[in-house]
């Protein structure tokens, strides 16, 4: 009976522990990975209480903040992942042989991204066409100002490694055109400068001794991103803009997965994160140079993070301002957001403007940058 009393009291104490953990986080736990919206604790309003909205808000808040939430989620996710090979995260799709894909890429591969953007395939194609024409116009205007604009198409994992994709299944969504299959032809037609790293990766994937895309990541592998950006820098110089200091790339070596090489594995939020196999790395160093360094603005998606991490950009460029989805700005000491920037001034000052989009993000190419830039430069858009 005494043991029963102790166990009952300990059970109550455990409940109390959960509450204390929520308040003070006194036991360190491994944080969850990914980005999500956290609701704030709703203020009590009698009307909301009577309608039940306040109660729903409180329940959401408790769900997002309760003590030991992180290990509880990881434990359940591990059960689902380990036993059934399933992800509770809809953005992570399990492919063949332990490969993980981001949902956008799988949907893009099976031509079902359209539902996110517009109602009809015709409207979508018209939008691509308009964007390409705007970029061609903007490119000509910037050329006259001494600024080189170009598009860099980062590789989609579904295109480089389609052999590990899961079967199509029943997506039950309208099919539509794939942006990656449309844009290169439009760029050629309107004369937009671009470099297609995706096509290059596809052509070399069987001849390189490392993986161009990591098994459990969604971005290009660290090592592949290094060779890719080295090529992009050569392409930039080929376009006739200011020279960029050289880099030396070290010898590849195998190592445990780092950074974005297992970002999909991270997103599973399981106890034992799958990191994939065969990850290789290289070190990049800038060759010292006294020549003036060019100024670079990058507008694009998350693929450029790997470049920021792997390259000594501060030794290669006078500045590299990364306009993430043409919204938040990284590493510009004066501005946090594109809305704060004098666009015309910034474009006149830069030497290179690179639109860096992967195949699955080409649907929203430039994120309205072309429109805003032309407006800022006083160029009418027909």
């Amino acid at each position: 009976m005494r043991q029963h009393k102790i166990l009952s009291i300990v059970t109550m104490a455990l409940f109390l522990l959960v509450f204390l953990q929520q308040c003070w986080h006194f036991i360190p736990v491994k944080p969850l990975k990914g980005a999500w919206v956290v609701d704030s604790c709703p203020r009590f309003v009698f009307k909301d209480f009577m309608s039940g909205e306040w109660q729903k808000g409180i329940d959401r808040y408790v769900k997002d903040h309760h003590g030991f939430r992180e290990p509880a989620i990881r434990l359940y996710n591990q059960y689902v992942w380990g036993l059934f090979g399933q992800s509770t995260n809809g953005d992570v799709v399990k492919g063949r042989e332990g490969w993980l894909y981001e949902r956008y890429f799988v949907e893009d591969h099976y031509q079902s991204r359209m539902y996110e953007f517009t109602d009809t395939p015709e409207e979508l194609l018209a939008g691509f066409d308009a964007e390409a024409r705007r970029l061609a116009l903007l490119q000509r205007v910037l050329d006259s100002l001494g600024t080189t604009l170009f598009v860099q198409i980062s590789p989609g994992k579904d295109i480089v490694y389609p052999e590990y994709l899961p079967p199509q299944g029943e997506m039950n969504r309208p099919m539509g055109p794939q942006a990656y299959k449309v844009y290169p032809a439009l760029f050629d037609r309107y004369g937009v400068r671009y470099t297609d790293i995706c096509a290059w990766f596809l052509s070399i994937k069987d001849s390189v001794p490392y993986r161009l895309m990591p098994q459990t990541g969604t971005h290009w592998s660290n090592i592949a991103s290094v060779y890719a950006f080295d090529s992009v820098m050569r392409y930039m110089q080929h376009l006739g803009g200011p020279s960029i200091p050289s880099v030396s790339i070290g010898t590849p070596y195998a190592a445990r997965a780092r950074g974005t090489d297992y970002d999909m594995g991270d997103l599973l939020n399981v106890v034992f994160t799958p990191r994939g196999k065969g990850n290789m790395y290289v070190e990049v160093k800038a060759v010292p140079s006294d020549m003036p360094k060019p100024k670079l603005i990058v507008i694009g998606d998350s693929f450029f993070w790997n470049i920021l991490y792997n390259f000594p950009l501060d030794q290669l460029f006078a500045y590299t301002h990364y306009w993430f989805y043409n919204n938040t700005i990284y590493y510009d000491p004066d501005h946090d957001n594109v809305s704060q920037v004098d666009l015309a001034e910034a474009l006149r000052e830069a030497d290179y403007v690179m639109l860096s989009y992967c195949t699955a993000q080409l649907y929203s190419l430039s994120n309205n940058f072309s429109v805003k830039a032309l407006e800022a430069l006083g160029i009418p858009i027909d």
Binding site: K5, L7, S8, A35
Partner: protein
């Protein structure tokens, strides 16, 4: 508030139990009553006054009835005491259904329809109305005396473990437990915690997993469904219902046990039944008992000849169906079960002892077809689905998640094997550890199911 919500599991329940155990035993009923009103107000603040007013009204009506000398007055007051909760139930649950049907008839005759503001359904009204009826009738029959304290009666009606989804506790089963509170026993507290956790796991790890896929399957085009898919879907729904409802009953019984109450059992391996009548002795037992004691027997039961017995059975099952929901599909579902009960009596089917495995399979098929009617409200769609169940068309199996298939298989196994967990045995240390982990795991499942972070924010 539902038991499988974070606010209940991580705040309400621990806070309530802390206060409940710390106060002197004479205050425990009051603490439980206040907590029960708060519990109800959280989910249905609009209706808490309806609940309290009908409870107070019922208490005083029965009190007057019990002290009335003339039989006629007693009968009249009984009628009022029964009509009050049943009237409330009829109004809140069936008024919309009634008006919709009247309007459908008016529209078909080319007449103007009635304008009507939809009545919202107070949560748990089906259960607390029936408990009010049992109180009035049990006192009228002299099976027990009326409660002396209003708060005790309010506690009987509103006690939160069984307020929302039962079990339907007859007044004479619990009256003594409320008025003569015995000392709490720690072993019973642990047994209750185990039972609650097992119920939570049934709900969260089985029923909810099955429910997600069943909803997807039945939302699709039923006309193209092949036979195996239809059977897997309805088998999954059959298990979902059982694990959801019996899980909720386990949680209620477990909570009652923690607080020192013994609620009646509500399920007894129903899918092991060899006949529909046996199924109803094992499925939602407290509803079956209620219907037998407060409807079937007052109607005359089987004492008034064969035809009247069948008529009574049909009435009971039609009303049982209607009690489950205000829709024609529920009425038909009740009639479906009533039909098989009558057929079983006509054929003496239940007496075929040697054919038990065959009878279990046949009963399960009847019950599963019944669940199709129960689940698919649109009758044309329902007929289409039942048609697919017997279409003999075989395509490839749907690409549902492995977790779903495994959970269906485990659920079927657990539902059909004759083994039952013994919650009454002395709690053991290893069991406690297991249950704590299971509880934590269920909380993880509840939290993780909707947690689907992006790799980063896209603008």
């Amino acid at each position: 508030m539902v038991f499988s919500s974070h606010i209940f599991l991580l705040y309400f329940l621990p806070a309530f139990l802390l206060v409940y155990f710390l106060v002197p035993s004479r205050w425990r009923n009051l603490v439980l009553l206040v907590a029960s009103v708060l519990f109800y107000a959280w989910g249905a603040p609009d209706f808490v006054l309806v609940l309290l007013a009908s409870t107070v009204g019922g208490f005083y009506l029965v009190k007057v009835m019990a002290s009335a000398r003339s039989q006629g007055t007693r009968k009249l007051l009984l009628g009022v005491a029964v009509a009050l909760p049943i009237g409330l139930l009829a109004w809140f649950k069936y008024a919309n259904f009634f008006v919709d049907n009247i309007n459908a008839v008016l529209a078909s005759l080319g007449l103007g329809v009635m304008t009507w503001t939809k009545v919202l359904l107070p949560i748990g009204i089906s259960f607390f109305s029936f408990q009010s009826v049992t109180y009035a009738v049990d006192v009228y029959r002299g099976e027990c005396t009326p409660m002396r304290k209003l708060t005790d009666y309010m506690l009987y009606i509103t006690m939160f473990p069984q307020l929302i989804a039962g079990p339907i506790v007859r007044y004479n089963e619990i009256a003594d437990q409320i008025t003569n509170r015995r000392r709490l026993r720690w072993d019973e507290c642990l047994q209750g915690f185990y039972r609650f956790t097992v119920g939570l796991a049934k709900k969260v790890l089985v029923a909810d997993v099955l429910g997600r896929t069943v909803d997807t399957a039945l939302a699709g085009d039923l006309s193209v469904m092949d036979m195996p898919t239809a059977w897997i879907t309805i088998a999954a729904y059959t298990m979902q219902l059982y694990f959801d409802f019996s899980g909720y009953s386990d949680m209620a019984i477990g909570l009652g046990r923690i607080m020192g109450f013994r609620f009646p059992e509500n399920f007894d391996k129903p899918y092991n039944s060899g006949s529909v009548s046996e199924f109803w002795r094992r499925w939602h037992i407290t509803l079956g008992n209620f219907m037998r004691n407060y409807l079937y027997i007052p109607l005359g039961g089987n004492r008034r000849g064969v035809v009247r017995t069948y008529f009574n059975l049909w009435i009971v099952f039609l009303l049982s169906g209607l009690w489950h929901g205000a829709g024609w599909n529920f009425v038909i579902w009740g009639a479906w079960h009533g039909l098989f009960l009558v057929l079983e009596r006509l054929t003496g089917y239940a007496q075929w002892q040697k054919l038990k495995p065959f009878r279990v399979v046949l009963t399960t098929i009847v019950v599963m077809v019944g669940w199709s009617i129960f689940r698919i409200e649109d009758m044309s769609q329902c007929l289409q689905f039942v048609g697919r169940m017997f279409s003999f068309r075989f395509d490839t199996l749907p690409t549902w998640q492995p977790q779903f298939y495994v959970t269906v298989a485990v659920a079927l196994l657990l539902a059909f094997i004759p083994w039952k967990p013994r919650f009454e045995r002395q709690p053991r240390m290893w069991m406690w550890v297991l249950m704590c982990l299971l509880f934590f795991f269920c909380v993880g499942a509840l939290t993780a199911t909707d947690f689907s972070p992006f790799i980063y924010f896209r603008f």
